[in-house]
């Protein structure tokens, strides 16, 4: 059980920034950006390449972030200059980036070998302790990202970003330049994907040209899953980051459990798809689990209150 939880943390925490980016476009902007399938790999590839070239691990982390962010910028330019939907621009990018990533890596799989990473200090620890230390470092990075993101959403710029997704016409009439915010959202979302990918690459010790496949659907599934537990809304910022955190970890828990139970790795995408379907069905037919628990809590309170009054 502990091992399942550790697996969940170690493989899930790097995905938190990635899915936060997906949340940004999917929920805050009410749009679909498939660039992430390619930019995730690009971020990982740039990180691996710079590491192999001897860059310090945290600098490689930033390089991976910047590389993926640039990909988001290109998507935004395609969207704005050619006037095609973000969905189409991102689709084109995700296909094109495959070749770019192959050139960056120069090989389908680039192994980091013995170069120093954020986690290489833990090599001497036993398996479980190493996992604990690894997830500790990851949790630190993820916590910093979540807090920074939450604070950003509270700024005038972050508020404008949230408004454009809900009511673009109104946002423009309030003086918000929604084209500029489109660029910002895509750069931010893909930068976050690159950051997560860099964490994953440094942990697993290699970058693979196929590691981004299914990221988008997984992210949407995790967001939907998170929304079952935490009801985020445009102005509930703690709930927004909470939803992404809970959703990502819940999603990873499902996958890790599936692996532990003995499913072959090839079935994982099927499990991802099923998770997505279950999340959607639960939302449709059960209402929010969060609402359910809140209702139970209220009932419990109202059940105990008269008892206390009687006692008094």
């Amino acid at each position: 059980m502990t091992q399942i939880l550790l697996d969940m943390l170690v493989t899930g925490l790097p995905l938190v920034p990635v899915f936060l980016g997906i949340y940004t476009v999917f929920r805050l902007r009410a749009d679909f950006d498939l660039t992430v399938e390619g930019s995730f790999v690009l971020g990982g590839a740039v990180c691996a390449l710079t590491l192999v070239h001897g860059w310090p691990s945290w600098l490689a982390l930033l390089a991976g972030t910047a590389g993926a962010a640039a990909a988001g910028g290109v998507t935004a330019l395609i969207h704005l200059l050619l006037r095609v939907p973000v969905l189409l621009a991102g689709l084109v990018m995700s296909i094109g980036l495959f070749s770019v990533n192959l050139h960056v890596l120069d090989t389908p799989t680039l192994s980091l070998g013995t170069v120093g990473t954020l986690f290489s200090g833990f090599g001497s620890l036993s398996g479980r302790q190493a996992d604990l230390a690894t997830s500790g470092v990851m949790a630190g990075v993820v916590a910093a990202v979540l807090v920074a993101f939450g604070l950003f959403l509270r700024t005038e710029l972050g508020l404008a970003l949230r408004a454009t997704g809900v009511n673009a016409r109104m946002a423009r009439s309030q003086g918000v330049n929604d084209r500029r915010l489109t660029v910002l959202a895509l750069v931010l979302a893909n930068g976050l994907a690159g950051l997560g990918a860099s964490l994953a690459v440094q942990y697993q010790g290699y970058a693979d040209v196929n590691m981004g496949g299914g990221t988008f659907v997984a992210g949407v599934g995790a967001v939907l899953l998170g929304e079952l537990f935490v009801r985020p809304s445009g102005s509930k910022l703690v709930r927004i980051v909470g939803c992404v955190l809970v959703g990502t970890l819940a999603y990873r828990l499902v996958l890790v459990t599936a692996l532990r139970v003995g499913l072959p790795a090839g079935d994982l995408r099927g499990v991802t798809a099923l998770t997505l379907l279950v999340a959607i069905a639960a939302e449709r037919y059960l209402g929010a689990l969060g609402g359910l628990t809140r209702m139970l809590a209220r009932n419990a309170r109202s059940a105990t209150t008269p008892a206390r009054q009687e006692a008094a």
Partner: protein, 301 residues
């Protein structure tokens, strides 16, 4: 002063579904003038608003705001000077966001948005003061989602948002259409008060003939993309609802259902038919308007 000169607005130009929404339209609004605009459906009233706000770029012509040529500025770059209330109560606010977030968005209008916190204790105090004036109790619900508010509450909030950054032009496009009579009266009272406070040039589109005649100090009648009549305050005060409807229908347009309904409810006023009308573009000054504080319009051609 807001001046539109030789404006054409053509949708889908060059295609089979080409629509001329505004045709060679020239009109000047003096600073602080409160203008009501009437006309049948499709007359081009909303197009006029779209053009002034910058949401639609005219095919031809220029728009000047005071000494500035704003023709090429998109709507979000005019927002610092030009505030707008939409006909749909849902359009003017972001339903997913809280009342204070909506207000904060409006507070930053006309400034560049940076990494300052949008809602601070000081700003919240200012917001509270502004919405308290509505008398709706919204000052105690700043954290509530706007989606929870009724249409009238939302439209009132939109009015407050429009006024927050002291715009020099206020555009109201049938913004009372979705409200019940009582709420209409409340929001209308709020409007006249804000307009007086702000001293903003106000353009109000309405299908309610009583409002068109009772409010403001100038009345425009539009038809087929043109201004076909332009009454100043005195002329307007002598006008009757039926006279105005005659004027609108006289242009050969079928009266819209909404106007027809209002016509049925309209009471005849004294001095029927005494309203003079003046075709648009005939030069003259406007100093006779009731309570007007503006100078004679020398720029009119």
């Amino acid at each position: 002063m807001l001046r539109l000169a030789d404006i054409d607005l053509i949708y889908n130009a060059g295609r089979v579904d080409e629509v001329v929404a505004l045709r060679n339209l020239s009109v000047t609004f003096e600073r602080g003038q409160f203008v009501t605009v009437v006309g049948t459906n499709g007359a081009g009233k909303s197009s006029l608003i779209q053009t002034i706000s910058g949401a639609a770029r005219p095919t031809r012509g220029r728009i000047h705001l005071d000494d500035r040529d704003v023709t090429r500025l998109p709507d979000h770059r005019r927002a610092g000077w030009i505030a707008r209330v939409f006909d749909d109560p849902r359009a003017g606010t972001a339903p997913e966001l809280s009342i204070e977030d909506n207000l904060a968005l409006a507070m930053a209008r006309g400034r560049s948005r940076g990494l300052r916190f949008a809602v601070t204790a000081r700003r919240r105090a200012v917001m509270r003061e502004h919405v308290a004036g509505l008398g709706l109790g919204l000052e105690n619900r700043l954290a509530d989602r706007v989606g929870l508010l009724s249409a009238g509450q939302r439209q009132s909030l939109t009015m407050v948002m429009a006024a927050l950054s002291a715009p020099s032009v206020l555009l109201l496009d049938e913004y009372l259409a979705a409200l019940d009579p009582e709420t209409t009266a409340t929001v209308l009272a709020l409007t006249t008060e804000l307009v007086r406070e702000l001293g903003a040039t106000t353009v109000m589109i309405t299908h309610n003939m009583d409002h068109a005649l009772a409010l403001g100090d100038r009345l425009l009648v539009m038809s087929r993309g043109r201004v076909i009549a332009d009454y100043d305050g005195t002329e307007k005060s002598e006008m009757t609802v039926s006279g105005l409807i005659d004027r609108i229908t006289g242009a050969g347009d079928a009266l819209s259902d909404r106007s027809a309904l209002i016509e049925q409810g309209a009471r005849p006023r004294p001095r029927p038919g005494s309203a003079r009308r003046r075709s648009h573009r005939t030069g003259s000054d406007w100093s006779g308007a009731r309570g007007a504080i503006r100078s004679p319009d020398g720029s009119r051609r």
